[in-house]
Symmetry: C2
Subunit: 516 residues, 2 copies
Amino acid sequence: MTKLVKNAVGRLVPTEINGEVAVPFMGVNKYKPEGNKHAPKLTTNADFPVDGNKQVASLKEALIKSGLKDGMTISTHHHFRNGDLLANMTFDIAKELGIKGLRWFPSASFPCHEHLIQYLEDGTISHIEGSMNGPLGRFASQGKMQKTAVLRSHGGRYQAVQDGEVKIDIAVIGAACADFFGNANGLYGQSASGLLGFALVDSQYADKVIVVTDNMKPFPCIPWQIQGNYVDYTVEIEKIGIPEKIISGTTKVTKSPDRLLLAEMTAKFCEATGIIKEGFSFQTGAGGTSLSVSNYFAQIMREKGIKARFARGGSNKYLVEMLNEGLIEYILDGQTFDLDGVTSMAENANHVWTSPFTSYNFHNKGNFAQLVDVVILGATEVDVNFNGNVATHSDGYMLHGIGGWQNCLFSKTVILPIPLFRDRIPVVLDEVTTICGPGELIDVIVTERGIAINPLRKDLIEKAKNSNLPLKTIHELKQEAEKICGKPQKPILGDKIIAAIKWVDGTVIDTVKNVL
Amino acid sequence: MTKLVKNAVGRLVPTEINGEVAVPFMGVNKYKPEGNKHAPKLTTNADFPVDGNKQVASLKEALIKSGLKDGMTISTHHHFRNGDLLANMTFDIAKELGIKGLRWFPSASFPCHEHLIQYLEDGTISHIEGSMNGPLGRFASQGKMQKTAVLRSHGGRYQAVQDGEVKIDIAVIGAACADFFGNANGLYGQSASGLLGFALVDSQYADKVIVVTDNMKPFPCIPWQIQGNYVDYTVEIEKIGIPEKIISGTTKVTKSPDRLLLAEMTAKFCEATGIIKEGFSFQTGAGGTSLSVSNYFAQIMREKGIKARFARGGSNKYLVEMLNEGLIEYILDGQTFDLDGVTSMAENANHVWTSPFTSYNFHNKGNFAQLVDVVILGATEVDVNFNGNVATHSDGYMLHGIGGWQNCLFSKTVILPIPLFRDRIPVVLDEVTTICGPGELIDVIVTERGIAINPLRKDLIEKAKNSNLPLKTIHELKQEAEKICGKPQKPILGDKIIAAIKWVDGTVIDTVKNVL
């Protein structure tokens, strides 16, 4: 039985996960890493084809040549989102070859990867380290995964590989187009997905790197979001993803009046507190509420003649329109959510690529997330200490990934517009089921029944006090929720740690237990 | 006394240089590196300014904060060429602080760095590892440098740092523009120089990285050729370079009838042997002869309706014109030689940045140099075994750097258009003074009195035999030269090894002795 210790947010966490040492969360900015970055093995051009042609006949051949064997760590990426065919293909081959005990290290998994449950059951895959959206998360929550899952943010994934915490044996990188040398991007072709930034760290640090495309182009494939110099083998297959599931034709703002209200209140809060000012910067996600916040921002900016220096975020139609209208000077893009985003990225030089390295990696010399004035995020739960949860639901099931959420908490102001309750279950609680982010980094909770500012942010409280915004304490919000919905039941959980939640510095901030 | 052993090209080389183990050249593709890449120390954002502002008041402050002390390795770069002010400034500060025994690791040095001779004399700088063009080379050749110089190609410099052969303590990177976070490029501002690729490896691997600019812009400075996430400190100074010396207003083709003849013969050779064909690729330098070769290529391509897939090379007016005319699809740019190049790079997306990593690093998984169909290079001397010299003159003085010359030898066909003699001294010899590149990689010598094809290239000999080109053996060329100029005198050299010439894999291919 692994030893459990209480970490800096009061959660009991193991000091060992899957046989490896784990450091309990020590508080924001407290853990100082020692030692050196992971040092990949030296290679020499003398061992690679003299004409630069690294193309092999099939993914199977590439995997065999890469030395696929039991117990290895295989990475894939979620650029194709719920339209991904590559991860399933990769493990079909592993199964066919009789390989066992693989650690799957995806940047995220989606419902399309439900196919892999059979391999978790038969031991082809021992466990998943990476965000699980949907069926795989439910499977893990039921205590069915052989080993413990490890969830990391996008930045935490970069950090873990960079620091040598996770050594990737084989990275399988899917790309909308590539050349035989391995230069690749996600911009052109039937499987266009935008950026390939989530695979950057894999290309840099994995032992073997395979680039797979359904659109092989003559050298040089430009731009090279993945540099062929990191690539061992290239493969062309017929179809790497399902286009209509890779990227939505267009993202849509919410039509829900409740959510529109949240978005409007959030924008008004930013206006009242002077956050929206000439040259400011913001990041909103691609959820319906977040998108609506951008829209309300645009209205305010238009009225006041304000221009933002940059927006960060998954690009989408609304951000692109703001860029084209001149309301934003630059979009600093981490991923791309719709076709407008992909097209704009290919055509507009003010649409700048970022990566988990530049934006999110915490074991760095600073990153972009901390430079953003205001970030609008979601949460499944928040507690009276402003701690936030994004991984588990109120019933205890782990159904979401962390994404860039933890990383974005380092921006100058963090606002969570959330409904006070969902399906008559309060969202503001005494204690969140799972702490994904410590309350000291979460500044404002916007609900339809009031806005709570973190007492640590005296400056924001001061600025907001003379506005006509419905300011309340977080305790008042919790009480209102409970008045309407009653005191919420705690989820009924077992004793088995099915997942560890890593903080951006690689320490363990919380665990997830199995659901009974 | 260091032990000398005979290497694979028959040169006596030391097994130790400046107290560190040196591996003698073992032959092309023979040396296989073991071990791992250099692993930089882990850093954490927690130790960097929370607002991302890393700007300090002066270069002196940045150097002190970086911990400048005796015996450190300090790197600078030649992006500002003969207009660089930064390297001199850096060592002026070191001198002022009483620091001794620094190893200067420039990507290249120019006549403007003659200022540093005083610091080599007084011990502020112990020695230079990096190409020396002009006065510093002469100083070293006179045996006056405390320790042994080490010369590397552009790719070899990347390799040496990547492999941990050279550990940079402080990298001082000058940039035409930057932001406080350290994002930087060489495109915009009074000191525009084009790319900053030579500083890439320094940013990735140095312990401390300082970005210095005379054009500080608000975040984000775009595009980031240097990523601020690697940068420790940023500094703004008044003037970082002398614009008219950084970059020529426009490069000019040679007007010398002799050189034009060499260029024309080279182009005709490529035409006759089928090297100039649809979709081919080429690299020419920025010397007068090389530029003329591009021009003759363009004529042939226009006549025959041929389009090149890409050209590599320092961009210049002539390449840019070919790009704009549609004769070249892409320019893969390593550096930029004139204003047309800088402007085109900033505006034309088919003008693609490369770096010593993508193009030249040999301890890689392949590089771009090997994908080029034909490369046109210069040489100070060639011998009957096709060995080439670019570092020393016939009088023994080391006056030139290696640049990308060694790296380009890996392209599919290497042609050296050179005069048969210079100032009545033969260029084709029994034995070159210094072997910078082994003859097996040099395919064709084009002189005004005949073209010699390396006997290893039976395919080229076959293709050229029915042309009306003046084909000769290399021995015939040598004899003709001697008939006109007489048997050349060997330079009068001492016993002191003043420099080691590294091959692209880090082994020692030759040494340079002091001149008596």
